[in-house]
Subunit: 280 residues, 4 copies
């Protein structure tokens, strides 16, 4: 019989005994802990358990048991399982349209459904409307409030994958930990070079002769998540910052789309912060 | 009944299923997994399990079961438990004598026994001899061979705590992971400022007006381990690099000794890469 | 006869020949180039010439000649000379009041005159008013516009020294280069540790056992300017982020004031990015 | 009449007045100071003056005057002028042969003469011998002594350009400052990513999907000099560290050779730490 893999995320205020209680629960329910990742940042605890079951499981019952345990320990728990059903995609964006446009134009070629587009402003609403996809705007300047709303939207649309299409806000661990290896970002440099903002300007100022872009999974460490795919071009003597930016943005769009497709087609596997492309 | 805490380290070539098999074993033997840390660096897997038992355990039997499992998975396993017995201390050094001297001169005030001094050269042999402590020299230039010998020595003397008294070689994860929060180093700067070598020269060149030293637990990330204790002094206009170094070295010795004492007296607790000093 | 020292700053769009023309001008007017610093950032050129004259000079005539040359090369030029006259001080602040308060309360003890307080908001206007010092608010979100206004104010009040009393905006090279070693900032960490924002939170999260503050001259490299003075305190086990912040802010105020006094009393000399305290 | 450009480097223990005296000398001899760069590292002063003359100059007389001034100020001075004569090239290497081999095999296509090969060991002596080029070995472990010998060799062969063909020692400012923009290095990464040693291993560990190499001028800041040329390749799922290294080394050889050719053909110009490729 095939193994069933269930991902469990636990997030809440750091307190003792959480690891012990959740791993115990898993064992008592016949599961094996394949991976455990935990972290604490500014007093917030996050744990990701990847559990395998060799016997058939009642997923609903398991989830309800975990929810109960979470309530007892005042931890927010969510479970995620690859069911084979069509995946729901949320796209987060700000005002640059090239990446969103590219993905929307390829929507019929995706093994998933773009369920919602979220903007930090209204600029891209028309694009979403034209593609007949719900558009939600979240303008809160408070990071906390904004992420609360994001989490609600993701729950509402049962989002499996989040795509950051030049989304210009930083996501905190409180959000990121709930979607381990399920948030894809595009960064305008060949990471690890030029992290942070204004990457093209930095590369131009430094005088690099090759400029590129990186699609990667998002972790709690900004611009340090596992790299999915990179692409690049050569700088020519005539290039200005503007001409570099222009070519870069084209590459951002195609590179992000490529990463999204690879993810949806289950071609990617993350082991120890590194993405491996499955041969089949 | 009081909980018994057992620390288990597992080190070996990365392979799937190791986490699952060890955590399962622990549960089947009545243990709770309080902490799990794992890491992979250059294909080497390291895991630290902190396990609690509420019922009485047969430590020998547990250890032998773990060794058997380790053999099966081709992983090296070691278990460690706070038994209340006197702790064995190994001091690693190179040629600077001030730190070693300070600790040796305080040896009767330590709640532990300095069992062995290891040098990367013979320079400090006389100091150890005078204190009637075995001195071992390991001059291998190959990191791998040197660490193999270090591990043998630590096993032979059943070392509980390793003190790096200006030990001028880097320890790899393969060594460090076997002694989680049981290796104490002294670094000649107020970390995180001026990591790496030549810290006083760096501080002097930068023109800082306060210079200090840091004692910390050693992790796989050089100079980034949990900070135990720091001390500092003010730079005066007349200071030269030499005068700063001189005052700094005095502080290194006292700061390292202080950290070692706090550790031996069970006053330190590491939670999430941060040292907490127990109130009692 | 005593040497007269004149500082000349030249800022403008990078173009060839500027160094040659200004150094030539200086020589033809009997000056010696003691120091030359030049830099280009994002196409903006900045040069600082420190020139000595052994014969008596007509400062007005020199300045007018430099202005003429500047106009010809489309460069903005300003000259600065230690005349012995009372120095004009501008304080830039945002909303934290502890540093501004400390300096205002010591205003009669300063060998200089606080000529103006500039705020990025109105929060500290009452403090300035009470001290009978003009308060100017600059709320522009555009960095460029804000700095244009700042430059005008500094010209109007013939400002010799700028004090950043928890001023929460970054100054660009275009501003900074015009006041070489004449802008003093206070940073809430022992630089070079914890540059950037939220320094106390970073130190607390990292678990450092010594926390401090740094007053320094401002250069084009954020938080990397020459260190004037540093002070620190030890962290105790009971400390929270809040208690650390509270103690830190007290230290910020006294440390900034101390640096300002040292500067006004001509006790500081910068050589090669390092501050030397003059013995007399 | 065409301008004559003379480069003057001054290196010695930091002391006051050096800038003033050398720039004065230049002016009194009819020169214009086009560029001045100075730096002090660990008490060592280095200055580079680029001087233009519009009238005909007696180069020998100028040089002898500068040498005299240098002697007076206890500074080592060297002058360098583009005479149009064939350039002398020194290649520094260690034991990897791929870069040296590539350059030697192209020696007849270079607008310059490979005058000497220097090795830190004897490994590459046969290659040099086969190409009938003098080979000198410098095995001193003392950096200071080694560089003294290097300077002598470079003087002896009147070296215009130094090529670091996988030369595995670091050059100090004392050496580097004497050959401004005349030392070319090859680094096995797309700088600024992965500076330091073991760059391929770092890139592989990080999981980058594009790997590359960088040829650059050497400055006092390791791996931060102006970038001349970069080249890269895509990582495929089957790649191992070894296969990446293999492809990388091929690219190192061609990229270094390309940079050397561009330099010798006067196609490169450095302005503000950035290499500009001349259109013709």
């Amino acid at each position: 019989m095939r193994k069933t893999i269930v991902g469990i995320t636990v997030v809440g205020k750091d307190r003792e005994g959480v690891v012990a209680q959740f791993t115990s629960f898993v064992f008592q329910n016949g599961g094996n802990v394949e991976k455990v990742n935990q972290n604490v940042i500014k007093g917030l605890f996050g744990m990701y358990l990847e559990v395998s079951f060799t016997s058939k499981i009642n997923f609903k019952q398991l989830d309800s048991g975990l929810q109960k345990l979470g309530k007892k320990l005042r931890m927010e728990v969510s479970t995620h399982s690859e069911t084979g059903a069509e995946k729901n995609i949320a796209i987060f964006a700000t005002k640059e349209q090239h990446c969103l446009k590219e993905i929307l134009s390829a929507k019929h070629a995706l093994t998933g459904k773009i369920s919602v587009v979220v903007g930090t402003e209204r600029a891209l609403a028309p694009l979403a409307k034209k593609a007949k996809i719900p558009f939600v705007v979240i303008e809160d300047r408070s990071q906390e409030k904004a992420e609360e709303k994001l989490l609600k939207i993701c729950k509402k649309y049962q989002v499996d994958l989040i795509v950051l299409a030049r989304y210009m806000r930083i996501l905190t661990p409180n959000f990121v930990w709930r979607y381990p290896n399920r948030i894809i970002n595009i960064h305008p440099s060949l990471l690890p070079a030029f992290p942070g903002s204004l990457a093209y300007a930095q590369a131009f100022e430094r005088g690099t002769k090759i400029v590129g872009v990186t699609s990667h999974y998002v972790t709690e460490n900004l611009d340090q998540g596992p790299i999915i795919f990179q692409d690049s071009f050569k700088v020519i003597p005539e290039d200005t910052l503007e001409s570099i930016k222009k070519r870069g943005q084209k590459l951002e769009a195609t590179t992000l789309l490529k990463a999204v497709k690879m993810h949806l087609d289950n071609k990617l596997e993350v082991r120890w912060r590194k993405v491996h492309t499955k041969s089949k």
